[in-house]
């Protein structure tokens, strides 16, 4: 089995390189033809495997379901088995599986970029260049030069607030105002990759004092970043550090919630996707990862209010990502920063 896979790999890689060279010589038409050919082969092999297993923390449940449905519509005969859980939880489960030698996962999709550095270090990720990855905006291509992982989703941590709140907090530091005592909701960096990204960003911008001051307002600590949306929609809390995707989806359904891109920067969460070396369904995994760069994928996630990966699909906010002002953590900073932040968070907030 492993031999088979690597042979397909090598062949695929040669084809692709040949395709790329050909494209350089002959223009985009040839590249597309080579890709279509490759896609067909992957699809045939994937159909034999029957399904792909995908663990994701990229977006809310409804978005993951939309991706599954779009994939199954495009590739009938290949089932998608997925779970949606917070980044640290799926990462822990993956490590537990790796330690025990359990092989069940094909595609790992976390919201903590540093997970991929650790997995790469352990040598468990398969190097693979998905089809269509060139459709990504330039600044998000090749986030790993060795091709063990690629961009899978883009999201922001922004200020979330109940629609009754006025005036709306403009900056992250506005949450220190004592009027928010008992009215703030947060996720937990020990569970959520979004929250981990946000905590490291605030820590680097304002120092840890940002959180000691925030703790005085006695925020409610959930687990996932999406807990904040539930709290605000349900009227349990008024403001929070939440996501943009589920909040906008909830707002569109008529719920009393809105978001604010803060003046001191929304935090961009780079959510990568990668395939395991010993994936039980390697071809279905590759087909599924390549699907991330299709128009259908971008449409599916945009429909559920996530930023599309391709520029030919309009953004749900109406503002293209290039026009936004945001803060982006470096992967190696997250690598050390998130585990440290979890420890410090425990001291500051008690959990």
């Amino acid at each position: 089995m492993p031999d088979n896979v690597s042979r397909i790999d090598r062949r695929a890689f040669l084809k692709l390189s040949a395709g790329a060279l050909g494209a350089a010589a002959l223009g985009p038409g040839a590249l597309q033809a080579a890709e279509a050919d490759e896609e067909k082969k992957l699809y045939e092999a994937a159909k034999k495997e029957g399904k792909v297993v995908w663990w994701t923390s990229h977006y809310q449940l409804s978005a993951a379901e939309a991706v599954r449905d779009a994939f199954k519509a495009k590739y009938p005969g290949v089932d998608v088995e997925f779970i949606r859980q917070t980044a640290q939880v799926i990462f822990q489960r993956l490590n537990q599986n790796l330690k025990a030698g359990v092989k069940e996962l094909d595609v790992f999709a976390s919201t903590d970029e540093s997970h991929y550095l650790k997995l790469k270090g352990q040598g468990v990720l398969a190097a693979h260049k998905p089809l269509g990855v060139n459709h990504l905006p330039k600044q998000f291509q090749n986030i790993d030069p060795d091709n063990t992982y690629h961009l899978g989703a883009l999201a922001f941590v922004v200020i979330n607030h109940h629609s009754s709140v006025s005036p709306v907090p403009q900056k992250w530091t506005d949450l220190h105002d004592p009027k928010w005592q008992g009215q703030i909701t947060l996720g937990h960096p020990g569970f959520s990759g979004y929250v981990g990204n946000w905590v490291v960003a605030m820590w680097d911008k304002y120092g840890w004092d940002y959180f000691t001051a925030l703790a005085k307002n006695k925020p409610k600590i959930g687990r996932s970043i999406f807990d904040t949306v539930t709290d605000i929609v349900g009227g349990e809390r008024k403001v929070g550090a939440g996501p943009e995707n589920q909040s906008l989806e909830s707002k569109a359904k008529g719920n009393p919630i809105d978001i604010k891109f803060p003046a001191d920067d929304a935090v961009l969460v780079i959510s990568p996707v990668g395939i395991l070396k010993d994936a039980p369904h390697p071809n279905a995994g590759r087909l599924f990862e390549s699907f991330f760069y299709s128009k259908e994928y971008s449409q599916a996630i945009a429909k559920t209010f996530n930023y599309p990966l391709r520029s030919d699909v309009p953004a749900p906010t109406g503002v293209a990502i290039e026009k936004l002002k945001y803060y982006r953590n470096k992967a190696d900073r997250l690598d050390k920063g998130i585990p440290e932040a979890i420890e410090k968070w425990r001291e500051t907030f008690g959990v």
């Binding site: 297993v53 663990w55 809310q60 449940l61 379901e65 089932d79 088995e81 997925f82 779970i83 949606r84 859980q85 917070t86 640290q88 939880v89 990462f91 822990q92 489960r93 490590n95 537990q96 599986n97 330690k99 025990a100 030698g101 359990v102 069940e104 996962l105 008992g182 937990h188 020990g190 569970f191 409610k220 600590i221 959930g222 687990r223 996932s224 999406f226 807990d227 949306v229 539930t230 709290d231 929609v233 349900g234 009227g235 349990e236 809390r237 909830s250 359904k253 719920n255 585990p339 425990r346 001291e347 907030f349 008690g350 959990v351």
Partner: protein, 577 residues
């Protein structure tokens, strides 16, 4: 030979010549081996793991030093002790009042209260905790909103995200222990002394306080200890209610030790003292029960008359309805309404009603659908293993068929004192590494559930066996039948009904088990409780409620079936959830 067996008094030993020729020794030997695999190895692994370093597996005591010197690890222990003590006190109070009212008074609705107590017992407290979030979250809880609407106050009085909230919820689902112990003792206490006191002019409150309750004190204390054990081992409720409050308890801290980078050996060291505490409390409880049994035997022949409460009958019923309404009526209403809502925050208003979450759980979501199937099949497999194993072990122990059979009985009962989360750590340490990797397969959960609920199956089978006359077996053996054949042809048919009851008693708690499942599943082996726990983290309250309602519908459906088939006896088999 029949002569000598009869004189042995209920536990006859076979002559060694017969035993030697018998192939049954091999069968019972296999049962002993399975017990070692299910109970001894995982528990031994906890101790072995606790003295090994997580980094390089060398022998060390540093895990104990680390676990019990840092304040962030000591604080959860303090919280757990406060939580368990307060929950046990409260549960004992509810349990005692209700059992007294149901067993010793002429209060109306006694049968209803009894059924409701049982329903509270069958409900896992993490589901109750979820429902209580809808009811009593500080700002959005329905009870708080109603309070604000009525009183015009700024804020409601309830805050479920607090130690008090968690104490209340756990007490609401553990008072049935005291109820079960106290009511079975109360039903045996004779009324002669009470009547004498009444003749001397004492009224019922004084008689109850000075005579009735002291007589059943050992049973009440035994129930209190069981509630304490239950509360300190609880994982779901603290995870749902105390993490938002910024508080950790022992079990949630153990969960954190398993987060990346996981430190299972440190977790084992952290768990060992808890294990020692629960084990010694259980031994204490057993001693208390023995004393209690002594008291009650004296009164078995006496006449029992209920207290005539007169005008106090209805107020007492009102008091008894408080814990049952809080553990059943309110939470199930909340769960049902939420499961039928598009968005729970909008409340039960027209336009917010939908059955989409049931369709989601049963049709659309493959993971949820698979989990329902897993729950049913794993629980059935676990209950079957536990029942068969309990049958063999109890038979061997009761009839003293092999030397050391008492030890076998002790091993079968041992998991009773092991909190689910700690049992899971033992299973993980033992069977997530070669030579035997069960982790990642259904067997990991099946054997863990079987082990966890083996004591329930064992105690059920043991008491059933005690009720069978050995004369029939002896007759068969005298006529030349082997032990195995006798067991198959005589004992088993006599036990048929109680075997099914035992099976259900192990099946039902397996169906709703969370605390061990949360460590042992992988997404491809997830059960309903895993999916509920996973979904709850992103505030997906509507699908969580739908799954919870489905799980309890299955549970209550089975209980109703069991009740039809076996009557009341099946309802009050004691077990832990």
């Amino acid at each position: 030979m029949a002569e000598s067996v009869g004189s042995a008094g209920g536990a006859p030993a076979l002559p060694s010549a017969v035993r030697k020729l018998d192939p049954s020794a091999a069968v019972f030997g296999a049962a002993a081996l399975i017990l070692i695999f299910l109970v001894v190895v995982p528990l031994a692994w906890i101790f072995v793991a606790s003295v090994h370093s997580d980094a390089d597996e060398t022998l060390t005591l540093s895990n104990y030093v680390r676990a019990f010197s840092r304040s962030i690890y000591l604080e959860p222990i303090r919280n757990s002790l406060v939580l368990a003590t307060a929950a046990a006190v409260l549960a004992t109070f509810f349990g005692t009042v209700l059992s007294w009212a149901v067993s010793r008074t002429d209060m109306p609705g006694r049968g209803l209260i009894r059924v409701m107590v049982f329903a509270a017992f069958a409900t896992p407290s993490f589901l109750g905790a979820t429902a209580w979030i809808f009811l009593a979250a500080p700002n959005s809880g329905w009870l708080n909103k109603i309070w604000i609407a009525i009183s015009g106050a700024e804020r409601g009085p309830f805050n479920i995200y607090s130690l008090t909230g968690a104490i209340l919820v756990i007490a609401l689902y553990s008072f049935p222990y005291t109820f079960a112990f106290a009511s079975s003792a109360l039903e045996l206490v004779p009324s002669d002394m009470e009547r004498s006191a009444a003749l001397l002019g004492a009224r019922w409150p004084r008689i109850t306080w000075r005579i009735t309750l002291p007589l059943v004190r050992p049973a009440i204390l035994a129930g209190a200890l069981l509630s304490f054990l239950e509360a300190i081992a609880e994982f779901g409720t603290p995870a749902f209610l105390l993490i938002p409050a910024g508080k950790q308890v022992i079990t949630t801290q153990l969960y954190l030790f398993f987060q990346y980078p996981s430190r299972p050996n440190l977790a084992a060291a952290y768990a060992v003292p808890l294990l020692l505490v629960t084990a010694s409390l259980f031994l204490l409880q057993q001693r208390l029960l023995k004393k209690g049994r002594f008291t009650s035997i004296g009164g078995k022949g006496g006449v029992r008359e209920p207290f005539r409460l007169g005008g106090w009958r209805w107020p007492l019923l009102a008091v008894c309805l408080v814990p049952t309404v809080c553990s059943l009526v309110l939470p199930y209403t909340a769960l049902l309404l939420t499961s039928l809502s598009r968005a729970w925050g909008r409340g039960p208003v027209p336009g917010n009603l939908t059955t989409q979450w049931y369709r989601w759980a049963l049709v659309e979501n493959a993971a949820a659908r698979a989990a329902i199937g897993h729950s049913l099949s794993y629980a059935a497999a676990a209950a079957t293993i536990a029942t068969v194993l309990a049958l063999f072990t109890a038979y061997v122990a009761q009839r003293r068929l092999v030397p050391g059979s008492r030890l076998l009985a002790f091993v079968a009962m041992a998991p009773f004192v092991v909190p689910g989360i700690i049992l899971a750590i033992g299973f993980f340490s033992a069977y997530a590494r070669p030579p035997l990797v069960l982790y990642g397969t259904a067997w990991m959960l099946i054997v863990a559930f079987a082990t966890r609920f083996l004591p329930i199956a064992y105690s059920g089978t043991e008491s059933a066996l005690r009720g069978i006359d050995v004369e029939l077996e002896n007759a068969a053996r005298t006529l030349g039948s082997s032990t195995l054949r006798t067991f198959w042809r005589i004992t088993l048919p006599l036990l048929r009904r109680s075997i099914v009851a035992t099976w259900l008693a192990a099946f039902i708690p397996s169906l709703r088990e969370l605390s061990s499942a949360v460590f042992l599943f992988t997404p491809s082996t997830a059960v309903i409780t895993n999916v509920i726990f996973d979904l709850s983290d992103a505030g997906n309250f509507e699908p969580v409620s739908a799954l919870g309602v489905l799980m309890m519908a299955l549970t209550f459906g089975l209980i109703a079936l069991a009740y039809r088939l076996f009557g009341r006896t099946v309802l009050f088999s004691r077990g832990r959830g």
